[in-house]
Symmetry: C2
Subunit: 135 residues, 2 copies
């Protein structure tokens, strides 16, 4: 107890990456599946208004994750693609793990969407290794 300052801090810092992770992951998937990522589809997939999507996307552009061109589909930068791939992999691994220990699929899919953003690389590695040994 007490003196967990750093843990809380980290938890909050990381939060600023959550959007980047969810958006890049989603944009990557939209491009794979539909050929392009449009604001409308992003907003629909995230269950938010297109206005909110536009503003978040514009922030992510400033941070170098993606590129927008007025009334054109959104594309990921190298940095954005990296983050998307990393996020997709982590999402996948965590989902598999929850299923592995017996969490029902519906629940696992819901929980992973939030949990994923707080799983460190070390924990991810540990999960992978644990599943490897317990098959």
């Amino acid at each position: 107890m007490m003196n967990n300052t750093k843990n809380f801090d980290k938890s909050r810092e990381q939060n600023s990456l959550e959007s980047a992770e969810d958006y890049t992951e989603l944009i990557y998937d939209l491009i794979s599946l539909k050929g392009e990522a449009r604001v409308v589809d992003i907003a629909a997939s995230l269950g938010i208004s297109h206005v909110t999507a536009i503003r978040t996307i514009s922030r992510l552009e400033k941070k170098g994750f993606l590129i927008t061109k007025s009334r054109s589909p959104i594309t990921l930068t190298k940095k954005g693609t990296s983050l998307a791939l990393f996020s997709k992999n982590r999402h996948q691994t965590l989902l598999k793990f929850l299923l592995f220990i017996g969490v029902p699929k519906q629940v696992a899919e819901k929980d992973v969407e939030g949990m994923e953003h707080h799983v460190s690389k070390t924990t991810l590695k540990t999960i992978e290794s644990y599943m490897g040994q317990h098959t």
Copy 2:
């Protein structure tokens, strides 16, 4: 992919409970350990300014989790105590689980602080049962 609207939604809704969970848990611990919970200690423990702590605490009071009295220590309502106990238990369980699968203590303690808020009751139960069977 696509159509994960509800999962994202849930992930965001739940977010509004995060503060309540962290604050009630912390206040509960402060009372146990120091005999009372004061703004200064809450702010220090969370690594934020006392001003931010005061404002969040006042929001939590409006939501019925705690009671403040000018320049007096903070107390938890029944609702707040319930949430604290639930959060502490969930924190404990998740931490034990991460340690169980081999995550180093420092890392586990950091990750759990964020992850805990996204672990559903179903997943928590699953974790407990899994650990019970694999001891």
